[in-house]
Symmetry: C2
Subunit: 199 residues, 2 copies
Amino acid sequence: MTARPARGRRPGDPAVTRRAVLEGARATFAEAGYERATIRAIASAAGVDPSLVHHYFGTKEELFVAAHELPLSPADALAALADDEGTLGERVTRAYLSAALTEGGPFESLVRAAMTNPTARTMLRRFIERGMLDGLAPYLGTPDARLRLILAGSHLIGLFMARQVLGVDALRRADPEQLVRVVGPTIDRYLTGELDPVG
Amino acid sequence: MTARPARGRRPGDPAVTRRAVLEGARATFAEAGYERATIRAIASAAGVDPSLVHHYFGTKEELFVAAHELPLSPADALAALADDEGTLGERVTRAYLSAALTEGGPFESLVRAAMTNPTARTMLRRFIERGMLDGLAPYLGTPDARLRLILAGSHLIGLFMARQVLGVDALRRADPEQLVRVVGPTIDRYLTGELDPVG
């Protein structure tokens, strides 16, 4: 017989508890960074006992991986763009900004953690190389497709860094639709435009 | 009378010691990140006694600031570009890549640290807003100059992140001059091209 947890919510529906822990983990990793995020702080953010965090997710590293699965399928991503307005570049930029510029989302947490933690860095690189480059290259169908995609992707990552992580004023003040209009043509050129012979 | 330091190089020329500590600090901050870098590890990388690090630079935070002064003057930066080949965008891209893609340089250390440490983040934002945006905006001379500059700058930061920090294969394999040719036109457009009305 185990004692009732000393603090936090009483364990109930496992699915609810797991979801609360994952949300608490993402918020804590994003705010404190991987190194400083403790299981105790994550449990407190989730309103559960720390023993439950270990019970459901194991180590901090395992919890981090579980909290940052980015299950983007290229087909889903393209389908989501199909109904939107504007050029392909504008649609890509708009979709990215609305996902990435959400404060405290999994993308923000993962990017911050990737700066200092090798596990997070490997996850993010793998997500970019496999999910994004390998997954989307066939849709472009050119020999330089992976380079085209990473040029577009690195520009969008840079916008995220400058606006969201660093908080540079000139970008924070810019309206997202304004950014879509000025950045969209760059993304169009990288994805489908004329480039100097590459690759 | 003080005892000779237990380990490390014997204190000699203060200028030599200070330089060694600054180099050791940049290398250690870049490799371990701000949080995990210890004065002891920095002293060891510099080959001096930890007490000398404290003596010359005070706290870890003070040492970090001293190690990451980015004394870029806009006039110097523009002068350095003047003799180079290609369009303005190509010259900017080439200069940035040769500075930023140097492994273990102050830029890499600062960007990594900025992800998790508020002091480093404030330093990098201040460098971008004051050094880059305020310093260079008068040379563009348009009302939207600061937004134009940060669009160009954030693209270059993103390239650095994807290539140097994450190590995405498609960018690591690209030749720097190839990147100059494909990215240069984007930088030209942001700096001096036609943009949808902004600002």
